[in-house]
Symmetry: C2
Subunit: 425 residues, 2 copies
């Protein structure tokens, strides 16, 4: 009886940022959902083990989208002539409120999960809504889907405009209830604490969330330095803090537990050092940041500093769950920074593939690579329709897929060793 | 007998840059391939005329791609870790040479034309290769396709690296032969003169082309100020000229006839004024310019100055023929410029739609709009799969299509009043 399963195809992955490991017509051996090794030929120890042969197709790690707003799905592609603050006021709040209706939320979440699946997003960090029932629904639906997600209730108990979305007391109760309900949930779907952003959270709720993270051993995600007006608002609200990141740090929300901070465009030198020293994951959301004129994150600077970075769609300030498009936007944005400052070398396509897989995957543990011990999250890529009448190396085929591919090229998805069928929710 | 045909659907077009005209459940009346008018209800004069009813679908003008290299199709999505000059050396020349084989060129051109059709590019400005037979083939294939194109032979009789691709004499003969062969071709497919760029053309051939343009009444297209190294090279080669654009002007290649100049990133104030004063069309190729780290064109500045601008895919330095993606890149690039210089207001989605239709369409005459007298080039958009559980205005549906749509949403294409089926070449 073999517990090992073998997958054959053109195997490619990025063990480090900028490095590519490739086995043309190679074999990944998987046992108990984890990679045992990648080989050029079937090792004698595994002869006779069951084989799934993907022929000349390409097998890459699954994509990890480490920042998206489930409740904003309906706004994808709408209203980008606005800047962030206007856009939130004009589009985001309205849809968020509709999400209080379970039927509406169910339809949206079913579409979201189906679209994640379609786009090969095997893992994601998902911000929910302010509403208890809707968040419960989101957990339940992800658990049925076979995809992996860290899910958090949005918290917003103060508002710069004077209209808070929820009371501090309600927020506390909801957070506690979620923490209790999902405290034993250590599988593919887990709970993450997600205060919206400093201007949207009272010191009381931030302190509460910091304690909750410790007590329940929970990761944390939020937004940092997305927009210049937002940064000014933090200075106004927290004159006692040296900077925005330090407010999170003060309340136990920056690196005390696994932390993902989205955007991080307008950070100071001190904040960047904090991100590095606290081991924070930066969710780089290039489409979102361009769509809402927020800025272009200093990606090369962060990579050079050794800051951990993954990619986020940030739907629906981002307009697409197509991770290849997000990779291209990250590359193009970094090229733009290089043009302004030639010391900031642009990122390569290899590096972008790392960010989309192992970079963000590390949030979830050993995820995003085919090194030994990694969970087997994989996509099978059929690039047949991208032919160009020219013999291409395996890496050129991957480049071409990244720049020109879409969901039609993804023909199978695996999460932690299991193939995931299109979710029927 | 009615010579008028009526098309019903949600009609939307951009009569001016930034303006949108819309008729929900409206009617376009078309006679002899040209728009007679757009109406909310069938006018009594047209009662009984044949109707094609597209129901709740959206009807927009066809897309115009005013800069692409037919011979570079195989390189789409390949090698963008290089800058322009390196990329040309490493990727472009090799494929260009393969195009000398007719069989290879036929396969590539069949795919190109099919992909243009798929992406709703009803009109394009197409640069061919250096090779006589291959250029003839390109003309013949476009003429069969039902799509419209201006097609030019690439000319490169000097090379900064010392390796010229062709002799001046051969280039002259080929240009003359094409001019003679297609001189009566005044329909959808026409001849355009296309010297590659100043560093690639001797003064002798530039002068020859300038005269040919006058003698045969031909439009001209080339590249201008794409890359900083290229601009320096022009200064080195033409110390007598005040700037790059003035070299073209001197040889009769800038505005003496209809002229399209691609890129125009690193222009001086004087060059921008020349572009305006000579009525030159700028082909803005945002993906290409980002992919090869060339820069971000000052789109707002040009629009404010009244310079004519259209969009180009510039395959294969650009990676896609998806015009919506090109529009998004133009918008995002202009937002990036706004972030650096708040006086350069970013372009809106409406303006991007104008650039992709009437902006570039004007190269071809009355093309790219549904105003009276315009050729009926149209796309029928089925945005059913982009539903978001929310009532959307017609304009929001168009925005959503631009940011999230792809070829699957384009269900019919018309060129000059005729529906075009997928070309079988």
């Amino acid at each position: 009886m073999f517990v090992v399963h073998l997958y054959c195809g053109n195997i490619i992955y990025t063990p480090a940022c900028g490095a590519v490991a490739a086995n043309e017509h190679g074999i990944v051996a998987v046992e108990d959902g984890r990679v045992k090794g990648v080989f050029d030929r079937i090792p004698s120890a595994y002869e006779g083990a069951p084989v799934t042969d993907y022929g000349d197709k390409i097998i890459i790690p699954g994509f990890c989208d480490i920042h998206l707003h489930a409740g904003q799905l309906p706004n994808m592609g709408i209203g980008y002539d606005c800047e962030l603050i206007d856009w939130i006021g004009k589009y985001a709040y309205q849809v968020e409120q509709s999400m209080n209706a379970l039927g509406f939320a169910h339809r949206c979440y079913a579409k979201l999960i189906s679209d994640l699946w379609l786009n090969g997003i095997t893992r994601s960090v998902v911000l929910g809504t302010y509403y208890r029932q809707t968040n419960d629904l989101l957990f339940q639906m992800f658990m049925k889907s076979g995809l992996s997600a860290y899910i958090g209730k949005s918290v917003c108990d103060r508002s710069p405009t004077g209209v808070a979305d929820e009371t501090t007391e309600n927020a506390k109760q909801d957070l506690l209830m979620l923490a209790d309900t999902y405290k034993d949930q250590k599988g593919l779907v887990r709970h993450i604490l997600s205060p919206t952003y400093v201007p949207g959270c009272t010191p009381e709720i931030m302190e509460f969330i910091g304690h909750l993270a410790q007590e329940y051993d929970l990761p944390v995600t939020s937004h940092l330095c997305e927009n210049r007006t937002e940064v000014q608002e933090v200075h106004r609200l927290h004159p006692e803090a040296p900077d925005y990141a330090s407010v999170y740090r003060e309340y136990g929300l920056l690196g005390q537990k696994t932390t993902i901070m989205a955007h991080c465009i307008h950070t100071t030198g001190h904040e960047a050092e904090l991100l590095r020293d606290c081991g924070v994951y930066v969710a780089h959301c290039p489409h979102s940041n361009l769509n809402l004129s927020s800025g272009v994150m200093p990606l090369r600077k962060y990579l050079n500093m050794g800051i951990r970075v993954g990619l986020g769609s940030d739907i629906s300030a981002g307009h697409t769950l197509n991770m290849m498009s997000t990779m291209v936007a990250a590359i193009q944005g970094s090229k733009m920074r290089w043009m302004i400052n030639p010391q900031e070398e642009s990122v390569t396509t290899r590096e972008a593939l790392y960010l989309a897989t192992k970079g963000g995957g590390s949030v979830f543990g050993k995820v995003g690579s085919f090194e030994e011990g990694y969970e087997f999250d994989a996509l099978v890529i059929d690039d047949g329709n991208l032919y160009d009448f020219t013999d291409r190396t395996l890496w050129e085929r991957v480049e071409r897929f990244i720049f020109r591919g879409d969901d039609r090229n993804i023909v199978a998805r695996y999460v932690s060793g299991s193939e995931v069928a299109r979710p029927q929710l």
